[in-house]
């Protein structure tokens, strides 16, 4: 399994091919559309992280010394970004998740989606993923 920064760098490289925001967003939307990221049965209030604008569902499972994440959103752009976050963090070791510096988001020009004031649920989702990394199961609903 490649480590967190390897995966981040790979995503950054992928994005460097795009000429403008359109191509970039088309790619994100494609990712959002293609991936089944979570079993429908988990899309319940137990797993929800509520943004004002879009909903996010997140489930974490421990497998040996690794944490796997499953997530979804009702908005496809949010879902596309989620799929990248899962690519980067899922299957990694808890400490690494907790300490991860997710620089790829800024590098690929999506920082705005993760502003604490964006209220799409993503900031809370990352917080939640890191909590899982710390072995804390407390659920933050935003």
């Amino acid at each position: 399994m490649p480590n967190i920064n390897d995966i981040q760098n790979e995503i950054i490289e992928d994005f460097s091919l795009f000429d403008d925001w359109m191509e970039k967003y088309e790619y994100i939307i494609d990712m959002g559309k293609s991936l089944p990221l979570i079993d429908e049965k988990y899309k319940t209030d137990d797993y929800i992280i509520k943004g004002c604008q879009s909903k996010v569902w997140l489930k974490a499972e421990k497998e040996g010394d690794r944490v796997n994440f499953y997530a979804d959103s009702d908005a496809v752009i949010t879902k596309g970004i989620i799929s990248m976050l899962i690519k980067v963090l899922s299957g990694q070791r808890p400490e690494e998740i907790a300490n991860a510096d997710l620089y790829f988001i800024e590098k690929i020009g999506l920082k705005e989606h993760l502003s604490p004031t964006r209220s799409n649920g993503l900031v809370s989702m990352i917080k939640q993923m890191k909590y899982y990394g710390l072995g804390m199961e407390s659920k933050i609903v935003n």
Binding site: W21, E26, I29, V76, N120
Partner: protein, 417 residues
């Protein structure tokens, strides 16, 4: 006809099409493209005229009001009280002391709910709201209803988003202690028959609060003609500054209500043994008011009076029709709120997409629309949707703005479809 119109009938109005040039922000860019601002229902932009009034205030006129004997303080006080009078004329209230400056519509509603409600609401009574209300005209009533043991009933809407007055009529009884509905729905643009509603409620001696937050952007109001007991609105939604709004109420009712916030300005005498309260409007204006905000709001009223309200309404109707038919041509559009009488607000969904995704793509194209529940969750729940995309227009918008919107929606449809 509001007094302000009568007074201005001799004035030569400016053409509405000139308005756009008065708003500096409309010449800026967003994401590298000329800004198309279609979120005026959330907050309007400000004309240079209002910005100048604010600037002048801080550069030349600033001092605390009602306190100093020195000329600067007198000047600030005069400007502040003149703004109150301008607002009175704008809504055609009877006395300027019926105009209470608050932070915005929300605070105005809270004031009435807390002050009137705590004194006059009786356990077991009913408060009537409508399915169309903004959270600001729901939550304050829920809070006082819970405290005092009242029940909230809701005027239903038809699928066009119009209030069902026949049901409302059946809901009325002596048990009802307040009716609170908006003049214009922020989420759908429906213009409600507030005069009828007031008449119906008054047959049972029930007081009526009208939430006019969305009404004042489209021209002056006549509270006496409407006949309401309370009318609230926000300055920032009518070309004025943030942090200022108005509660207008009938003097008789306001006089009977206890003060709400305590502090400087709202007292006559204070001792630790006995404090006596000031008269209207000061009784309800504790502490230093938003002086500059009030003066800015007065300037917004003056700005309005440069235009013919009839022309404003006609122009906005034209934009509404143009936008609606343009979106229809895109295809796959579901309009939410199709009342016969509506303002320049278009709420819609693009089939198979989430409003948030559409909003993001429009943003990249320099187009500001609002997506989400518009602080009307009960209304969205009623329609079974998470929210809508809402384009709301003011007199500073033009057809090119709408063209850009339509083109943007097409693009979003292509990208997301």
């Amino acid at each position: 006809m509001p007094a302000i119109l009568k007074e201005n009938s001799a004035i030569k109005f400016r053409a509405v099409r000139e308005a756009r040039g008065d708003f500096p922000i409309l010449s800026t860019q967003m994401n590298g493209r000329p800004l198309v601002f279609l979120d005026s229902a959330a907050s309007s932009q400000k004309p240079q005229f209002v910005i100048d009034a604010i600037d002048k205030y801080y550069r030349e006129q600033n001092a605390n009001v009602h306190r100093g004997v020195y000329s600067l303080s007198q000047l600030a006080t005069d400007l502040f009280e003149q703004s109150r009078e301008k607002v009175r004329a704008f809504i055609n209230g009877q006395y300027s002391r019926e105009v209470i400056f608050v932070r915005g519509a929300t605070e105005g509603i809270n004031l009435v709910a807390q002050s009137y409600g705590r004194k006059f609401f009786k356990p077991g009574g009913t408060i009537i709201l409508s399915q169309l209300e903004h959270h600001s005209n729901i939550v304050p009533w829920q809070m006082i209803a819970e405290e005092k043991g009242l029940e909230i009933k809701v005027i239903p809407i038809n699928k066009e988003g119009e209030l069902q007055l026949d049901t409302f009529e059946q809901m009325l009884s002596e048990k009802v202690q307040m009716v609170a509905v908006n003049h214009i729905s922020n989420a759908l643009g429906t213009v409600n028959p507030v005069k009828e509603i007031v008449e119906m409620a008054h047959r049972f001696d029930v007081p009526v609060l009208i939430d006019g937050a969305q009404a004042t952007l489209h021209g002056s109001i006549d509270v006496q003609e409407i006949g309401a007991d309370f009318y609230v609105f926000s300055g920032h939604k009518m070309f004025g500054p943030t942090g200022i709004g108005v509660l207008w109420g009938k003097e008789e009712l306001l006089n009977k209500m206890p003060p709400w916030h305590g502090g400087g300005e709202m007292i006559k005498t204070v001792s630790f043994e006995k404090t006596t309260f000031n008269e209207l409007p000061f009784k309800f204006e504790a502490g230093t008011p938003n002086i500059c905000g009030s003066i800015g709001l007065g300037a917004a009223v003056d700005y309005f009076s440069q235009f013919d309200p009839k022309e404003v309404v006609a122009y906005e109707k034209e934009l509404l029709a143009y936008c609606t038919s343009g979106l229809e041509e895109v295809g796959g559009i579901r309009f939410v709120g199709t009342a016969k009488n509506k303002t320049s607000v278009v709420s819609f969904l693009l089939e198979g997409t989430h409003p948030y995704d559409v909003g993001i793509i429009l943003d990249k194209l320099g187009i500001a629309v609002r997506t989400g529940h518009h602080c009307t969750q009960p209304l969205m729940d009623h329609y079974g949707i998470p929210g809508t995309i809402r384009a709301s227009m003011a007199m500073y918008n033009n057809k090119e703005d709408i063209d850009r919107l339509i083109e943007g929606v097409r693009r979003a449809k292509m990208m997301l479809g």
